[in-house]
């Protein structure tokens, strides 16, 4: 793994990160740029706060629920679920995509939390065979452009697309005006705190990767990553995706303390970064092998720049991974070391 790699002296971004430059005192260009853009970000967040309360206050009741919350059972989405119910008073439907790799301890958290908050919960489990085929293809072929993968691994990206598309389907079918998720500003761009989930407009940008997945897996990918024309053609208004965690100024400890009363406990049998999916260590491993850096570098570095995490805490998270999980996951996805080497070669040849 990438333990001894050269990193920025302030954050943890490493020398293989795209377009990184180490400037004075070993500080990276992203940290130096951050110093200049803090003011702009603050005004963006203030605007987002106003826009979010306006959206929620003026919501029109069209169906049973106000919001579908993408709920992985991790600390961030647990906190979002709590905020949605307790801070904003929304009537929510929690939604979990069961990819077959959610740790048992995470399921316990999920059940306890939805019960304590008294919300309805909807679990969708794609067929294991199809899910694995999509995950496998994502890991060992160049499904995504490398710019898409600067802060996420390829399997996570496919899985999150599945979550997003399924949440949008639920929202459209049940006429739910908002989709909430546990994204933070290190994970999504500041312009994407609130956006209209305009399926047709965004579908174009996904076409290339979708076609690659279709080539590898077959048309069955459409069931998980597309919405049928019959449903889309009926749409009068697309729901808004609202990432309410982005406007909260909270540390990890504060989040954990806030959700502890709901019965949420920190999972111990999974690695430090993602607290619930057993694919995570493997996904990071593939990303490091292929691109030479950890996909969480950007997100954790963002937290350091915001003063929400120390550099040594972030390094601990990146280095603390359950390597013993890698081999069994590779076997379950029928992936061999050579498959990873060949996708690396494909990406390298494009540089």
């Amino acid at each position: 793994m990438t333990n001894n790699i050269e990193r920025c002296s302030k954050c943890i971004q490493s020398k293989n990160y795209p377009k990184i430059k180490f400037e004075e005192n070993g500080v990276c260009n992203f940290c130096n740029k951050k110093n200049k853009s803090t003011k702009i970000e603050a005004s963006f967040i203030d605007n987002a706060k106003i826009k979010i309360s306006n959206l929620f206050d003026n919501r029109i009741k069209r169906g049973e629920y106000d919001a579908v919350v993408c709920y992985s059972g991790g600390k961030d989405s647990t906190y979002v679920l709590k905020l949605a119910v307790e801070k904003y008073g929304l009537n929510v439907l929690a939604f979990t995509l069961d990819n077959g790799y959610i740790a048992e301890v995470a399921w316990k958290n999920i059940r306890k939390v939805v019960d304590s908050l008294g919300v309805d919960h909807w679990v969708y489990r794609p067929s294991s065979e199809n899910y694995k085929a999509i995950a496998r293809a994502s890991a060992i072929t160049d499904v995504y452009r490398k710019n898409t993968l600067t802060r996420i691994s390829a399997i996570c990206n496919s899985c999150i697309s599945m979550v997003n598309i399924t949440a949008l389907k639920i929202a459209l079918e049940k006429k739910i005006p908002f989709i909430l998720a546990g994204f933070t500003l290190g994970q999504i761009p500041i312009n994407a705190i609130i956006y209209k989930n305009h399926y047709k407009f965004l579908a174009d940008s996904r076409l290339e990767s979708l076609n690659k997945l279709r080539e590898e897996v077959g048309d069955v990918v459409d069931d998980y990553l597309c919405i049928k024309d019959e449903l889309i053609n009926e749409v009068k208004e697309y729901p808004h995706n609202v990432n309410i965690l982005c406007i909260e100024d909270v540390t990890e400890t504060e989040i954990k303390d806030a959700i502890a009363p709901l019965g949420w406990v920190s999972p111990k049998d999974v690695d430090g970064c993602s607290s619930n999916c057993m694919l995570n260590t493997f996904n990071n491993y593939v990303h490091e092998e292929v691109f030479g850096y950890n996909p969480y570098e950007m997100e954790l570095s963002h937290l350091i720049r915001e003063g929400l995490m120390t550099r040594s805490e972030a390094l601990d998270k990146i280095n603390d991974s359950s390597v013993e999980q890698i081999a069994p996951i590779m076997a379950s996805l029928s992936i061999e070391k050579n498959d990873i080497i060949s996708v690396k070669n494909v990406y390298d040849s494009k540089r």
Binding site: I188, N191, Y195, K196, K200, S205, R206
Partner: protein
């Protein structure tokens, strides 16, 4: 505002946001096809155009054609501005 000024602001935004050099940005090609942006990039660009040029980008404006190149985006801004 002239088209050149609009171009300059869009280019600056893309350089700052997507880790590309100015000479790598095509004016008539799709930024998606060139691998510069993904779907979040489209969301960001639409939101950037609204804020930077004080225009309202409606659902009807969110089409493949309007965002298919930087020159098309400039044309969208021009159109919106002249309707104000």
């Amino acid at each position: 505002m002239s088209s050149v000024m609009i171009l300059e602001q869009i280019l600056n935004f893309i350089v700052d946001t997507y880790m590309v050099e100015i000479d790598e940005i095509p004016l008539n090609e799709s930024l998606i096809d060139e691998g510069i942006i993904d779907s979040f990039g489209l969301i960001e660009l639409a939101s950037f155009l609204e804020k930077a040029f004080l225009i309202q980008v409606n659902d009807d404006d969110l089409t493949r054609d309007n965002f298919s190149s930087i020159n098309k985006m400039i044309a969208l801004v021009d159109r919106k501005k002249s309707h104000d």
